[in-house]
């Protein structure tokens, strides 16, 4: 067990920024999904799942293709 902890400590310089960036991006996108309920396609639950569980490709797809604005809610 002690061995595992040492291993974790050794990789902490990598893990801390990685986790901050990935979790930060996921949470930021999730908040955006909830606060702007207008999508080009799909619904809120779908986008929340995509954004939270597909790391960094999920938020990217949401911001580039999924995010709609208030005025173009035609579909």
């Amino acid at each position: 067990m002690n061995n595992d902890l040492d291993l974790l400590l050794e990789y902490l310089p990598f893990l801390i920024p990685l986790i901050i960036l990935q979790v930060g991006l996921a949470i930021f996108s999730a908040i955006h999904v909830i606060r702007h309920p207008y999508y080009r396609f799909g619904n809120q639950v779908m986008w929340l799942l995509i954004v939270l569980f597909i790391q960094f490709i999920g938020p990217l797809v949401y911001f580039v293709f999924g995010r709609g604005d208030r005025h173009s809610r035609a579909n």
């Binding site: 990789y11 990598f14 960036l21 930060g24 991006l25 960094f56 990217l60 797809v61 911001f63 293709f65």
Partner: protein
């Protein structure tokens, strides 16, 4: 020139507002950290998953492994992400008709294309610089990098290759005026490059060489002179595609 900078500024604000800056910074930082991390953790993981008692002689990871990861992740993941992000550069404006007012007010059509391409170049520069610096910093911290050759030239190869792909995407996006047009054209272009790469004779000029050669450049198996032709050809093709886009857009009905 004033007009050019005005439109450039508008493009910049738009890209920040559509979260492009955020996504590029976060994703390429993640990629930058992942490279040395994967290089360092792979032998440890292998050891953990091996059944007890197996004796394996795993070599210690070196700086080269970290850079190999860089040249695997950034051309694949990084470029795909980047092309996706910038695949709607023109089609968005053409679909929404937001350019009509600006163009009737006297904005030159070539300005539109050149600023958009310039903006994408700025973002690509930022992306490469970011992941390169982060990988460089981690690698320098953990390993000795003095054995590697042409470190910066190898990175510039990848950078130039990215410029070509962005130009192709911009052309496809303008020509077909749909978000998927640019991606499709780039995808077909990549397949074409891979098919030509099957023939060994194409090795001396194929632009794809710029994306695949960097590891050999680092070890010293290839010299910068060996990729010189592909380097120039890629730059030339980039220019051709940008000019093609401008020429096509000048005749396009907006």
């Amino acid at each position: 020139m004033n007009q050019w900078f005005g439109f450039f500024k508008k493009e910049w604000f738009e890209s920040v507002k559509t979260y492009k800056l955020l996504l590029v910074v976060v994703i390429f930082s993640i990629l930058g950290i992942l490279n040395p991390f994967t290089a360092k953790i792979t032998p440890v993981l292998l050891e953990q998953f091996m059944p007890a008692g197996t004796i394996m002689d795993l070599p210690e990871p070196t700086a080269l492994d970290s850079w190999l990861q860089f040249y695997k992740n950034v051309p694949q993941m990084g470029l795909v992400v980047f092309i996706l992000l910038f695949s709607t550069m023109m089609s968005k404006e053409l679909e929404k008709g937001t350019l009509v007012i600006l163009l009737t007010k006297g904005l030159r059509r070539s300005t539109v294309i050149t600023t958009k391409y310039m903006m994408a170049i700025c973002y690509w520069t930022l992306a490469i610089l970011l992941s390169f610096t982060i990988t460089y910093a981690y690698t320098a911290f953990y390993w000795d990098q003095s054995t590697l050759q042409h470190l910066f030239f190898a990175a510039s190869c990848l950078y130039i290759f990215g410029l070509l792909l962005i130009a192709v995407t911009l052309w496809g996006n303008t020509y077909f005026a749909t978000p998927y047009g640019g991606i499709l054209v780039t995808f077909i272009g990549m397949i074409g490059l891979f098919i030509t790469a099957i023939f060994p004779q194409s090795k001396s000029w194929n632009p794809l060489e710029l994306a695949t050669a960097p590891p050999q450049l680092l070890t010293g198996d290839l010299l910068p002179a060996d990729v010189f032709v592909s380097y120039l050809l890629t730059l030339g093709l980039t220019l051709v595609f940008v000019v093609l886009t401008v020429v096509h857009f000048k005749r396009k009905l907006v």
